[in-house]
Amino acid sequence: MTFLGMPAFAPRGVGHLRGDEPFPAAARTALGNSQMRRNLRHATTTIRGKSGRVIAELPDWQDLRSAGSAIKADVMSRLPELLEELETRVTTAGGTVHWAADANEANEIVTRLVRETGSDRVIKVKSMATQEIALNEALEAAGITPVETDLAELIVQLGEDKPSHILVPAIHRNRSEIREIFLRAMPGVDPSLTDDPPVLAAAARRYLRETFLSTRVAVSGANFAIAETGTLAVVESEGNGRMCLTLPDTLITVMGIEKILPTWRDLEVFLQLLPRASTGERMNPYTTMWTGVTPGDGPQNFHLVLLDNGRSAVLADEVGRQALHCIRCSACLNVCPVYERTGGHAYGSVYPGPIGAILSPQLTGIEDNASLPYASTLCGACFDACPVKIDIPSILVHLRNQAPHPRAERAVMATASRVMQNPRLYARAQRAAKLARIVGRRGRGLPPPFSGWTAGRDLPEFPDQTFRDWWAAR
């Protein structure tokens, strides 16, 4: 075997994995958006409640989580072999498999495939992978119009906005904002549109129906791919996916290489885990599966684009690779106290919340997303919520250990460690700290980096005696 070196990270200059500013600054701005905070508080609280209720119905939920985790760990341990099996099966069934090392390659492949059909428009099923690589921008640059058909994704697209949640990309919008976006940007919209949800949904439906019936090419992602049979699966709630996956002549699916499952039977576990953790449904309303091409039924040309874009680099890290187990249910976002307050845009990447904090820095290399592993209090709510038991807090701690550290912080930490190794130095430092507090008056602000504390909180009164002094004098 030849050693090919460290696998490449997702390249810079393409895709949506890097933000414009570090998390703390972006979060500070986002916290001031009271409309967004109200929308998010309402939406996440509702999903949490719904999901919690249907999960409580299953006596074997913890066993299902363990099974999901074990299947994914097995997949990661033999990913190359499973991918080759998938390629063989898809090809035998009449599909064509393409390998894309990164976002640029994937965008080129999809653009070329669409061009070859002669179509200047594609309909799209909501997909994180195509958001990650900024496929829509690449298609537009090539004169091809992508139309998002998931309602929330359509709202984001028409609003020239960015998704802020994995499952509900327009979670930061409320219905009056959606009405304004539709009035401004939806072709042929009725100007007397109200903000009544059924009215808004009907407007989107009317617009999308025409598009479904007149577009010959669709682009999708995939929730699962079965190596054993070459079957692809997409689960969704609105039925738009079913339209995209069955009506057009050509279907192009872009899928991250980690989405693979070994056998058909494995779906049994994931089709129970995903809807309950994700939308709080017992079963997702639409499950579409297809294997290659079926003559006379559905798309007659099927292309599968297998996307790496940094995933092999994640796989190479034995601790961090658990991030590849993710089934994009977004349960970790919905329970995250940080996400609930800052919203998704603060994370800079299309993957926000706890999963984003561990996935984005690993896909891009830690230098490009160094603040994300710190965007968590390590409260652990995400770990408990994750249907495949990804130990997100431990991966955050692991990534913090690799992150570049500010020079001053490094010095403070090294000194603290040296003092703490020596009980006598430690006791002396305790007394010195007390002295420093007597000199600096109580309630007065501390210098950075401690100023963040005193901006909103008082410091405790320094006690007359440390515990160890009390014990010694006892």
Binding site: Y374, S376, T377, G380, A381, A416, P449, D458, T466
Partner: protein, 244 residues
């Protein structure tokens, strides 16, 4: 029983009353408490901020200090969580297999206060008296790392004179997160604001928890806003009697 006390650096320095209360409570229940002077810090701040190499000597310090004892107690779910779930990992990732297995072993003998009382000493009613309106905040690390469950509440329910009121959104983080409160001060404050309004909504005079760190955070906010609500460590409530 002979119980070794790990004060934790934070409580030793800033919340000695919580550690003293732990001592007085265990002695009142008829146990012998020892305080090994070589102890300092469990290294959690270093580990959670990304300085495992600097934490390694602190892990070694903890393990060698407490290895001689069968039962170790700390009045902190967070430090106990770190000792039990991180010490072994830190030692192992630095190639110290021997230290790692000793750390796992000492970790398994290290208990958070409510665990020690209920699981080891088999006592729920510690004979405490505390005539105040109290609400309990289950800290994230006691809940989801040390996994103490409802043990603190079971102990509090037995306290005489107490008016124990439920905290809305109790299981939501207070926003402390160690260095998170410095690195992400704005987000931390937003979380704290919600925690404080929940605390205030209960009408409690006292907010209690099993971690001095979170209490320092919540208490710092409650004090800044002059809410009049005090923060008191769980050990202090359990140590209170009619005579004291």
């Amino acid at each position: 029983m002979r119980i070794a006390l790990f004060a934790t650096c934070l409580a030793d320095t800033l919340y000695p009353q919580a550690v003293k209360a732990t001592v007085l409570l265990l002695e009142r229940l008829g146990h012998e408490v020892v305080f090994p002077f070589e102890q300092t810090c469990c290294g959690q701040m270093h580990i959670n901020t990304g300085y495992q190499k600097d934490a390694l000597p602190l892990v070694r310090q903890y393990v060698s200090t407490f290895d001689p004892y069968d039962v170790i107690v700390a009045p902190s779910g967070s430090c106990v969580g770190s000792i039990r779930h991180q010490h072994e990992m830190v030692a192992r990732s630095h190639g110290e297999a021997g230290l790692a297995s000793r750390a796992a072993d000492v970790g398994a003998r290290t208990y958070e206060l409510s665990e020690l009382l209920i699981d080891v000493l088999k006592v729920e009613d510690v004979g405490a008296y505390y005539p105040h309106r109290v609400t309990y905040h289950p800290t994230c690390h006691s809940l989801r790392v040390a996994r103490v469950g409802d043990k603190p509440l079971r102990l509090l329910r037995q306290v005489r004179g107490i008016d124990l009121v439920e905290l809305p959104g109790a299981e939501q983080c207070c926003g402390f997160g160690g260095t998170f409160s410095l690195k992400n001060a704005a987000t931390s404050t937003a979380m704290l604001a919600d925690k404080m309004s929940n605390v205030v909504s209960t009408g409690a005079d006292v907010c209690t928890a099993g971690d001095a760190s979170c209490l320092m955070h919540i208490g710092g906010g409650l004090s800044r806003l002059r809410t009049g609500v005090r923060t008191v460590h769980l050990a202090e409530i359990l140590a209170s009697t009619e005579i004291s």
